[in-house]
């Protein structure tokens, strides 16, 4: 029996350079993969001098589930549920990216009602994802109450989405060619009620609870500043890029699902510190709510699914990207004319953002490292795929 199981005390084969240097006063701290504040299975190898961080080396791959190789063995409709499991906090946005990529290669037209439903669910999902980012971030900094409050609103969103998709978290609602189910007018009314309540009552509650809190501000303002030049050079996107003051939102730059018709702002930060990235997420929830309200007013009756081809012949290659809650979610798809992709590469924003940890956390206190991770909001399903 002992022959088949791996050794219980496996030696750590990864040696940090000059770890052997006994003369230096640096200490090596390994954080994770089992750590409550790493948002999953991230391992950080930090070299510290006293309380100050000298260098950090993020170690990922603890959740690598072979998504890209596996998708070469699956047909296109079969891949959709696996994209859910990439960024499992924002399943709808992932499905949407993949569906848009396949639709582009197939030349499918999506019916208008499905476009509206996609926008509504996508923005609901963005609010849900930002709520988790907010709650876990606050909890990492010691405010457990905010975590419990944000789950209250997330459950409401999940209930709404569960009603139309049947699943609580990995919805599989957006399909290639449209969406799975039509919704009732009553459902739309309840979405409206939720959004109104969220904007008028719940969001101000969060701001009262956390944003103005002096302890919170002291731990986030001026911490881990990311300059706009660095943000662009390292390929940051989403709230991380906008927190540094670069107003780039793919919904504005490369509109999809008819989002160019909607009126919404792109909130940006000023200093690029942890607080700004947090604030951008909070303000984005308001903008998402605005979009949902407009979609609820504009929604029209009709089909929710385009007729699909009987035989799937997907030819050519494309790179389609959407603005996910974490940043630029991209799907690079190469089809060879069969019903299975020849190559699929998933561009995960969290994967790119984790590169930034060594860049922005040099010289910080070790306790600030959790604030840095929380402000980048990584999800390990998509980091490791």
């Amino acid at each position: 029996m002992a022959t088949t199981s791996p050794p219980a005390q496996a030696p750590d084969v990864r040696v940090v350079p000059d770890e052997q240097d006994r003369s230096s006063s640096h200490l090596y701290v390994s954080m994770g993969p089992q750590h409550p504040s790493t948002h999953g299975v991230l391992r950080l190898k930090a070299r510290i001098d006293g309380e100050r961080i000298v260098d950090v080396d993020p170690d990922i791959g603890y959740l690598h589930r072979c998504f890209e190789k596996h998708s070469e063995q699956l047909t296109y409709p079969q891949i959709v549920p696996y994209t859910d499991r990439c960024d499992y906090l924002a399943a709808i946005n992932n499905e949407l990216t993949f569906a848009l990529a396949v639709e582009k290669l197939l030349g499918l037209e999506v019916p208008p009602r499905a476009q509206y439903l996609r926008v509504i669910t996508m923005e609901l999902q963005r609010i849900a994802s930002h709520l988790i980012a907010f709650g876990t971030f606050a909890m990492d900094l010691g405010a457990t109450t905010a975590f419990l409050y944000c789950w209250r609103e997330r459950e409401s969103i999940i209930n709404l989405l569960e009603e139309i998709s049947g699943a609580r978290m990995l919805f599989h609602y957006v399909r290639i060619g449209g969406v799975r189910n039509d919704v009732t007018d009553d459902w739309l009314r309840r979405v409206r009620a939720f959004v109104d309540d969220f904007i008028s009552d719940k969001l101000p509650q969060y701001h009262r609870l956390i944003t103005g809190n002096r302890l919170f501000v002291r731990r986030t303002k001026g911490i881990a500043v990311l300059t706009p030049e660095d943000a662009i050079a390292w390929g940051a996107s989403g709230p991380v890029l906008r927190g540094s003051g670069v107003a780039r939102d793919l919904r504005k730059v490369e509109p999809y699902c008819g989002i160019e018709k909607y009126d919404f702002n792109v909130p940006v930060g000023e200093n690029g510190d942890v607080f700004d990235r947090y604030m951008v997420r909070m303000l984005e929830m308001e903008e998402s709510a605005k979009i949902i309200k407009q979609a609820l007013e504009g929604i029209e009756a009709g089909d929710v699914m385009a007729p699909l081809p009987r035989r799937w012949k997907v030819e050519g290659e494309t790179y389609v990207r959407t603005e996910g809650p974490k940043g630029e979610v991209g799907c690079y798809l190469v089809g060879d004319g069969s019903d299975k992709p020849y190559r699929l590469h998933w561009r995960a924003p969290s994967f790119v953002h984790l590169q930034l940890i060594p860049v922005i956390s040099k010289g910080l206190l070790i306790a600030d490292l959790v604030a840095v991770i929380g402000s980048l909001d990584p999800v390990f399903g998509e980091v490791d795929r």
């Binding site: 219980a8 791959g61 959740l63 978290m169 990995l170």
Partner: protein, 170 residues
């Protein structure tokens, strides 16, 4: 460590040494009852199921009702909820964590991935079920399981703990 494995006799009221006894029977009941009423679980989220585990711990479903609170250290926890896909890189860490937990320790395999690899069964980097690296007490199916399902799994584990024998020294 130093304690022999739990001996399960057919009759729960027969103790491990083979004799029925008023004292051991009652002691067993008290010990098992107290164990099941304070299962501290380790905060070890892996994948999608971890979010549902967090939802179960949060206000709507509330693990606290069962005396379950999360501990960040494996040395203080009795229960490991394996909430996600285990791959080759993570496998040795999980074994490491399991070995650090104090006995008696329990494992719940939450979700299809931890049960047998689930949707990722048979892929190059995936361990086909966490039972290939550590022993599992309760399997909870689902992808991801609803919080109710996880609670049901915990209740099943309670039942299992209540029916355990007393550990005896060699």
């Amino acid at each position: 460590m130093g304690v022999n494995p739990v001996v399960h006799s057919g009759d729960p009221e027969i103790n491990a040494a083979g004799h029925p006894g008023v004292l051991t029977t009652s002691l067993r009941k008290v010990l098992n009852w107290s164990r099941k009423a304070s299962l501290w679980y380790m905060t070890f989220g892996i994948a999608c199921c971890a979010i549902e585990m967090m939802a179960t711990g949060a206000s709507r479903y509330d693990f606290d009702r069962f005396g379950m609170i999360f501990r960040a250290s494996p040395r203080q926890s009795d229960l490991m909820i394996v909430s996600g896909t285990v791959n080759e890189k993570l496998a040795e860490r999980i074994v490491n964590l399991y070995d650090q937990m104090a006995e008696p320790r329990y494992v719940i395999a939450m979700g299809a991935c931890a049960t047998n690899g689930g949707p990722y069964h048979g892929l190059y980097n995936v361990v086909n079920g966490v039972h290939e690296i550590i022993p599992v007490d309760v399997y909870v199916p689902g992808c991801p399981p609803r919080p109710e399902a996880l609670l049901h799994g915990v209740l099943q584990l309670h039942e299992k703990i209540l029916n355990e024998g007393l550990p005896v020294r060699a």
